[in-house]
Symmetry: C2
Subunit: 81 residues, 2 copies
């Protein structure tokens, strides 16, 4: 079994209204040294090991987990249980 | 300037309907070797350096970014620009 940790982030230049909202909330709480906030997704996928696991994870991300038009993804694969 | 990378995940035992939905979608796409999916949040916060940055990030997470009742958070602080 492998644990795949996937990070999905908006591409540079893509507007991030959620990050902007978090930034505004932090400022209203007097965290004035915050310059920017970008919000992404983080997933932990438990998957049975296979020979072409990386290719499979790439396909999952392209097909379902990320929107390749506006998002980047990266992942690490760890041994698990 | 520092880049703080924050991971927010549901505590173990807390139901994750979003993860369940992603898992079901992966199965309907024939990814049958996926055993479990947990969905969390990932944030990148650009912040001016300060003496007690870690304490400040902890407060941000407890106050706004995470829900300490059902979520755990962790973060790393990196040098940026």
């Amino acid at each position: 079994m492998r644990k795949v940790k996937i990070h999905i982030t908006l591409k540079e230049g893509v507007l991030d209204p959620q990050g902007k909202a978090v930034h505004n909330s932090l400022q209203s709480l007097q965290y004035n040294n915050v310059q920017d906030v970008r919000v992404g997704k983080y997933m932990e996928v438990m998957v049975e090991d296979s020979d072409n696991l990386e290719a499979e994870i790439d396909r999952m991300c392209d097909q379902l987990l990320a929107n390749p038009v506006i998002e980047n993804y990266s992942y690490t694969i760890e041994e698990a249980g």
